[in-house]
């Protein structure tokens, strides 16, 4: 059970999710306080993005509950969800910029859709955010013409254009060189300080997590391995957490039975030769 305190912004309660038969999150508990940067860590495939998607109401969980700013996201109506999503910003792993819109049009889109401001005001507001992310002058470039770092910054600019209270960021530093990744971390810290946003960042990069986190939650096999401040996580004597911290590959402990099941499952889902498409 997650303890609800006055400043609890997000509370995740016994969250269980599956893809098909496969268990991804297993009765997961988590809480995020107002104004903090919570970093969710875990190896690739540990379910970080799934957790994020469930918190956003994009995936329905098998059971459990996610409460954000008083809304039960997991049981909300479409209307309530849309209302809630107007108050948050999301930057996706690959940027998810719209390929047929220029950079500035991408960033203006939420303002165009949700406000009655005139075109000039919208343009100025979008320019301000581009400026903040050090992207001014690139207004009319198409997403395909942007570098990896620029895409992430653009996604961040679009996520904050409505001045949300809560920001989600999936893998800010994935696929970036260390210098650009560090830059991006600076932007995230700036957002917290200047705009007092509550920020949830998903990452598997240690350096990045240690630079920005107020608290870190480490996911492991669908559960929370540890949740605490940077020092608490560093001091953890959980072997798997230490392995993650020291970048040691921890071999999956698989019993012969599980191994057999794994093999047969792959067999069953592989398309057979001779199947007809369409």
């Amino acid at each position: 059970m997650t303890k609800l305190t006055a400043d609890t912004f997000i509370s995740v309660d016994k969250l269980t999710t599956h893809y098909g038969e496969r268990l991804i999150l297993d009765k997961l508990d988590l809480s995020v306080r107002q104004g903090e940067i919570m970093v969710i860590m875990g190896a690739s495939g540990s379910g970080k993005s799934t957790l994020l998607r469930t918190m956003l109401g994009l995936n329905r969980p098998t059971s459990g509950q996610v409460k954000i700013m008083g809304l039960d996201v997991t049981n909300a109506s479409r209307k309530q969800l849309y209302q809630f999503r107007r108050q948050i910003g999301v930057a996706f792993q690959g940027g998810a910029l719209f390929g047929n819109l220029s950079l500035v049009d991408n960033i203006q889109l939420p303002l165009r859709e949700h406000t009655n401001l005139d075109a000039n005001t919208i343009r100025i507001m979008a320019r301000m955010k581009l400026d903040m992310m050090n992207l001014s002058g690139f207004d009319n470039l198409m997403p395909s013409e942007l570098s990896g770092g620029m895409v992430k910054r653009a996604a961040l600019a679009r996520a904050i254009v409505m001045d949300p209270q809560l920001l989600f960021f999936d893998e800010p530093s994935a696929g970036l060189d260390p210098v650009v990744a560090a830059e991006l971390d600076e932007y995230i810290l700036e957002l917290k300080q200047a705009m007092e946003m509550t920020i949830v960042v998903v990452t598997h990069e240690l350096e990045s997590a240690f630079r920005i986190a107020d608290r870190i939650t480490v996911l492991d096999r669908g559960k929370v391995a540890i949740c605490g401040t940077i020092d608490e996580v560093k001091a953890s004597n959980d072997e798997r957490v230490q392995n993650l911290l020291n970048r040691r590959a921890s071999r999956e402990q698989v019993t012969p039975d599980e191994y057999l099941e794994l093999l047969t499952r792959v067999q069953a889902t592989r398309p057979h030769r001779g199947d007809i498409d369409g």
């Binding site: 998607r53 956003l56 994009l58 969800l81 849309y82 209302q83 999503r85 107007r86 948050i88 999301v90 996706f92 792993q93 690959g94 940027g95 998810a96 910029l97 719209f98 390929g99 047929n100 889109l109 939420p110 859709e113 949700h114 889902t269 398309p271 057979h272 199947d275 498409d277 369409g278």
Partner: protein, 263 residues
């Protein structure tokens, strides 16, 4: 043997489930087709892409079909000594059957595949999720304009194909062979009445719906595809599936509408 039957059963259930998802998708779009505000700018953009940019291929397809039809029918009709009826034969075949079918197949191959790939890419790089997270309904924002544009442009393209096709028949019969100018056009004018044009119109609307439904739906449901591969590979697979499925459905509905309207 038992395994084979089990597989067949699983496959069938999978396909039925997929069809169910596609149906729900279609119903959702239709329920939002008339919801305010009408995104006329997006519709115009799509009209340009789906309609205007298809005219050239439609022109090529229908002129060649008209020519070939004119040549073949001339040979048969002149053997019976009724080559004066060429105008009637060509125009009825084109307006009732070939015009709508050829147009629909070309639009499915050209615009349908592009639409499917576009929507599929939006699914695979989370652009559709991004829309959801900005509280923008992807159905109203993306699908509805594509539906309107296709429903408007396919009948217009069919009209173009009809005219060009009949003209192709004219070139074959009158210019190349010896059908009298007056007899050909007389045949065209007298034979075409509302009933035939109606069939052409109904077919074009049905085909338009099939094209845009299969193209957008297949792309939109990319993530539910049981092969479980996303990215470029998944997009190209569902695009191929969409073109095949769309083309077969077009031919099937062509038969169905013909049978229904003749009976």
């Amino acid at each position: 043997m038992v395994r084979a039957i089990t597989r067949l059963g699983e496959k069938t259930i999978e396909q039925l489930e997929h069809l169910g998802h596609l149906t729900v998708f279609l119903m959702t779009v239709i329920s939002k087709l008339f919801v305010f505000p009408f995104r006329y700018r997006a519709v115009l953009q799509q009209l340009y892409f789906i309609g205007a940019k298809s005219t050239f291929v439609i022109f090529l397809a229908s002129i060649t079909i008209g020519l070939a039809l004119g040549l073949n029918l001339y040979v048969e009709l002149s053997r019976l000594g009724v080559q004066d009826r060429l105008g009637t034969a060509v125009s009825l075949s084109i307006v009732r059957e070939l015009g709508p079918v050829i147009t629909a197949l070309m639009v499915m191959g050209r615009a349908g595949s592009a639409i499917c790939a576009e929507v599929g890419i939006m699914r695979s790089d989370e652009q559709l999720d991004a829309l959801e997270c900005m509280a923008i309904d992807p159905f109203k924002f993306l699908m509805v304009p594509k539906f309107w544009a296709t429903l408007i442009s396919v009948p217009l393209l069919v009209a173009i194909a009809d005219v060009i096709g009949v003209f192709g028949g004219y070139i074959a019969g009158v210019v190349i062979f010896d059908v009298p100018y007056g007899a050909y056009w007389q045949g065209v004018y007298t034979s075409i009445d509302w009933q035939h044009l109606n069939m052409g119109l109904i077919k074009s609307l049905v085909f338009a719906l099939v094209i845009v439904w299969v193209a957008t739906g297949k792309g939109f449901l990319l993530h539910l595809d049981k092969a479980g591969v996303y990215g470029a590979e998944g997009v190209s697979r569902v695009t191929t599936q969409a073109v095949v499925m769309g083309s077969i459905l077009i031919l099937f509905f062509n038969f169905l509408v013909s049978a229904f309207m003749v009976a």
